[in-house]
């Protein structure tokens, strides 16, 4: 029952926050903050409950919590929500970054505050739906539903080329999403042909028998949808535009959460449902992953727009996730999931900082910055920390993730791993160049700006602590998703036999 509340609270709070702004914008922000906070606590409550049962649970496939209702009986569609360690981790990340998003727009968004928080809460509720759904129809429903508020966030509060960016984002995700819908339907009917049961239920569709050609096509339908979201080169072109034009909260949610839904989809659906096809597809996926890692890093190096630079680093980092997922061994998978979480924190942090910087000096152009360290040391230090996370400094979470991915992929293919390591090297260049351009050198424009205030300091401080925790003692997180990961691997294994 608690699972439906996670969605409903955000949904209702969205409407309340939308109406409250008529009287007082502050009330709207507070409602948003409270609702996401309550959800975070609920998720944390579930998480603290897992510590005791995880060992017993790994033996058989049971969810930590689930809720199931009939929805459209004539099609066998259920409103079925469930969490395991993986989705729980993603939910915690969702609610945490949700709080960050509200705080980051505290002073940035001054117009149309009510509708802003309405959209913000609804996009979070859609994302929560994606991580919770175990009925494929419901999954698709939430998958599409989270796009509309995101579209509005970019369209209304975005920067200069917002209409273009928002439309491009919507069209890319919609086309790939519809291909996934066809794939879901194909799977649904094939399952019916072999078993006589109409169902969209994830656990029942696992291990559906089909010929390898069909399996490959259906897998591709899913893969395209997730690869666009991830994003995998060459389906990434919506990302730099959307991330750059979105308001800070939008960028945080896009980079921190929407990209993760793609990775989550690969982990949860693509490989367990189609292990054979995924296995055959692995070489191509690995090449795509490495291309993304190197291409993203090189493109990031070439940017002069601070936000666009950060956007391209996402392409590079999510390449590691793709590499980890398709390497499909315990080390690589653990690495992929840790990278997902850490990328959410470190890139989210960078976007918050860039947004704060833009709010202060009204530009994102690196050429016009310089010498900011002397003026705003706390802000500059925070950016330095997140850049170090991004370039993979040991001791920070991102390093653990990428290192594990490389360890895992080494067993699959040495050349691919070598090429991916070059990507890490390239990340050093863009991260250092970014810090150098913005904060060192002469302050040619004679910028004077206020440093981080308490609200920003708290937000950034928490994210830094989180990254250090993941970097120094990742075991807590590994324990959380460990049993879930084991289950996914078992499912893929049994289905292949």
């Amino acid at each position: 029952m608690i699972l439906i509340w996670l969605i409903v609270i955000l949904f209702v709070a969205g409407i309340l926050a939308g109406m409250a702004a008529r009287w007082n914008p502050l009330l709207s922000r507070l409602i948003a903050l409270t609702a996401i906070g309550v959800d975070f606590l609920l998720a944390a409550g579930l998480w603290s409950g897992t510590a005791s049962i995880s060992a017993a649970q790994s033996a058989q496939h049971t969810w930590i919590a689930e809720a199931d209702w009939d929805w459209v009986p004539s099609f066998g569609i259920h409103f079925h929500l469930a969490v395991d360690g993986l989705s729980l981790l993603m939910l915690m990340l969702t609610f945490f970054l949700g709080i960050v998003a509200v705080l980051a727009s505290w002073t940035e968004i001054r117009e149309k505050v009510g509708f802003f928080h309405f959209n913000l809460l609804w996009v979070l509720s859609g994302i929560a739906g994606v991580f919770l759904a175990v009925d494929l129809f419901l999954f698709y429903f939430a998958w599409e539903l989270m796009l509309i508020p995101m579209y509005f966030l970019i369209l209304i509060w975005g920067h200069e080329r917002r209409v273009y960016a928002a439309t491009k984002f919507f069209l890319f995700t919609q086309l790939s999403g519809l291909l996934m819908l066809i794939a879901i339907l194909a799977l649904y009917f094939i399952h019916h042909q072999t078993t006589g049961v109409y169902t969209f239920e994830y656990s029942e569709l696992l291990g559906t028998h089909m010929s390898s050609g069909v399996e490959l096509w259906i897998m591709l339908g899913f893969f395209v949808a997730f690869a666009v979201k991830l994003p995998a080169v060459p389906l990434h072109t919506w990302l730099p535009d959307a991330h750059t034009e979105a308001p800070t909260a939008g960028s945080v949610i896009l980079a921190g959460l929407l990209l993760k839904t793609g990775a989550y989809g690969l982990l949860r659906f693509v490989i367990p449902l189609f292990p054979q096809a995924a296995h055959e597809f692995t070489p191509i996926a690995l090449v795509l992953a490495v291309t993304g890692i190197v291409y993203g890093a090189v493109m990031a190096y070439a940017q002069t727009d601070f936000k666009r630079l950060v956007a391209y680093t996402s392409v590079s980092h999510l390449g590691f996730v793709l590499l980890g997922v398709f390497s499909w061994n315990p080390l690589a998978l653990q690495g992929a999931i840790i990278t997902m979480v850490c990328h959410g924190l470190s890139t989210g942090g960078l976007f918050v900082m860039v947004g704060g910087l833009q709010e202060r000096i009204h530009t994102r152009d690196l050429e016009r910055m310089g010498g900011l360290w002397a003026v705003a040391p706390r802000l500059s230090g925070a950016v330095l920390f997140f850049s170090m996370a991004s370039l993979g400094l040991p001791g920070i979470g991102d390093f653990v993730g990428e290192f594990l991915v490389l360890l895992g992929s080494y067993k699959i293919s040495v050349p691919i791993t070598v090429a991916a390591s070059i990507g890490i090297l390239a990340s050093t260049f863009y991260a250092l160049r970014m810090v150098q351009r913005a904060f060192h050198g002469p302050n040619t424009q004679a910028w004077r700006l206020p440093d981080l205030n308490l609200r920003e300091g708290l937000m950034v401080g928490t994210m830094i602590v989180g990254l250090l925790w993941l970097g120094l003692y990742p075991q807590t997180v590994l324990n959380t998703f460990g049993p879930a990961l084991q289950n996914l691997q078992n499912e893929a294994q049994t289905a292949r036999r």
């Binding site: 509309i148 209409v163 069209l171 066809i182």
Partner: protein, 475 residues
């Protein structure tokens, strides 16, 4: 004629009777309120009488009309949408200076024509229904005689519809010459084996007539002009009621006569479907007039419906029924918005330019919200009826493995999304300085729109009741 026959025909008889009542009423006292009152009363009575007709269905009343659950379902849809159109017309024509009452007379006659079409199982009733509908529509489209665009649209519709009716008649004659029957169901028995040239030519000509009414490519040329020129409530009727009736007839004609089993006929319909999906969506991209955008969008939507029609399984027939309901509700909501924001008294014409809608959300959030819901439904985004409809069609297609058709559907519908998003982007843009003032909207109009929007979202989120209804009625 027995009591059961009369009972089966009760919905049709009530529509016809209310037309007579409205006509006599106009003779006694001219009052738009009275006319619309009788119209709505008659339509509601007809809707209620469907429950009286259900127990006696299916029943062949004379060789002309087959009243079964399928027909009654569509009669319900037609009557309900006509009632909404009548209500919208009252709003729209409130400030019209000429005679306003005859519009309702025409509306009732056109609705009767539609009801005859969906119950038709014979070429004679097919033609009767079609002509009753068309002739009333000429008058309705050109009703605002002081507007050039309306007159132009009316004449265009008159000429093209007459031509297509002539083709249709000729086609019927050819089929009759070849088989000697005018009943749909007997065509199948009489024309077993390879079809001769006369029969195929006849079927092709009847497709012309059907295609014209549906406004599918290549018979779509009238659509944008009539949509733009006609007053919005009338356009809503053309777009929803008349087209739903035609689809219902097409399904019955094609499946009863077995025409779709001929390879050539199937191919023709497939080409029409693909062309409509592509052309409708692509041509809408460059439009800046909301009514024209909706016109091209409706061309594309009937392309989608043809996909399900071509698939032809039981689930596909349900898909068509659901899609039509979704499309009707959505289009009524969209044209309802245009209607209540416009008005026959406005000198500048209807509020249909994309620029007029710029920033509407910040001035009239409720109206813009309903419009957004309607546009998202047309685009087939989840949580709207349009999505469930599209899902149904894709499911029907996937079930019969019609991959090329549904892939084209998906790709073209994404192209279509682009122009819906253009309207949405305009709705939420910052309002321009010299934006025209938005007229006040009456409370009753807001209520009707709110009901349509609620229906749109409620049945989009929880479609089970409607699905069950369709399953029992069209099985």
């Amino acid at each position: 004629m027995s009591t059961d026959d009369l009972l089966a025909l009760l919905p049709l008889l009530l529509i016809a009777a209310s037309a007579v009542v409205v006509m006599l009423g106009i003779g006694l006292k001219r009052s738009p309120a009275l006319a619309v009152g009788f119209t709505l009363g008659g339509l509601i009575a007809a809707f209620v009488s469907i429950w009286a007709a259900v127990p006696v269905a299916p029943r062949q009343v004379t060789p002309l009309l087959l009243v079964d659950n399928y027909a009654l379902f569509y009669v319900g849809l037609i009557v309900a949408s006509a009632a909404v159109v009548a209500f919208l017309s009252y709003q729209y024509f409130e400030e019209h200076e000429g005679q306003r009452e005859e519009l309702y007379l025409l509306l009732l006659l056109a609705t009767l024509g539609c009801a005859v079409l969906v119950a038709s199982s014979h070429f004679a009733s097919f033609l009767l229904g079609l002509e009753l509908l068309s002739v009333s529509l000429y008058g309705m489209v050109a009703y605002l005689t002081d507007r050039r665009a309306a007159l132009e649209a009316g004449i265009k519709y008159l000429i093209l519809a007459s031509a297509s009716a002539a083709f249709l008649l000729f086609g019927m004659a050819l089929i009759y010459a070849d088989t000697g029957t005018m009943e749909f169901s007997r065509l199948r028995d009489l024309s077993s084996g390879a079809p001769g040239f006369t029969l195929l030519a006849g079927i092709a000509l009847t497709i012309t007539g059907i295609g014209f009414k549906l406004g599918v490519v290549p018979f779509h040329l009238w659509t944008p002009d009539v949509y733009q020129g006609g007053s919005p409530p009338v356009t809503a009727f053309v777009a929803t009621t008349s087209k739903s009736a035609m689809v219902a007839l097409m399904l019955r004609y094609a499946y009863l006569s077995g025409a779709l089993q001929y390879h050539a006929v199937f191919l023709v319909f497939a080409i029409i479907a693909v062309l409509s999906m592509c052309a409708g969506n692509l041509m809408a991209l460059r439009q800046t007039n909301v009514k024209r955008i909706l016109a091209y969008s409706s061309i594309a939507h009937f392309g989608y419906i043809l996909v399900a029609f071509l698939v032809g399984s039981a689930i596909a027939i349900e898909a068509v029924a659901f899609y039509l309901v979704a499309y009707t509700v959505t289009m009524l909501a969209a044209f309802g918005i245009v209607t209540i924001l416009s008005g026959s008294g406005h000198d500048a014409g209807d509020m249909d330019d994309l620029e007029d809608y710029r920033g509407l959300f910040w001035r009239r959030p409720a109206i813009a919200g309903v419009f957004t819901a309607a546009l998202l439904s047309l685009a087939g985004i989840p949580a709207t009826m349009g999505f469930v409809g599209k899902f149904y069609i894709l499911a029907a297609g996937a079930n019969e493995q019609a991959w090329p058709l549904i892939l084209i559907l998906v790709v073209t519908s994404v192209a279509g999304l682009f122009y819906y998003l253009r309207i949405v982007a305009a709705l939420y843009a910052d309002p321009t300085e010299q934006a025209a003032p938005v007229p006040a909207v009456s409370r009753s109009a807001t209520l009707v729109l709110a009901v349509l929007a609620l229906l749109l979202i409620w049945l989009g989120v929880y479609p089970a009741p409607l699905l069950n209804l369709i399953r029992t009625f069209t099985a």
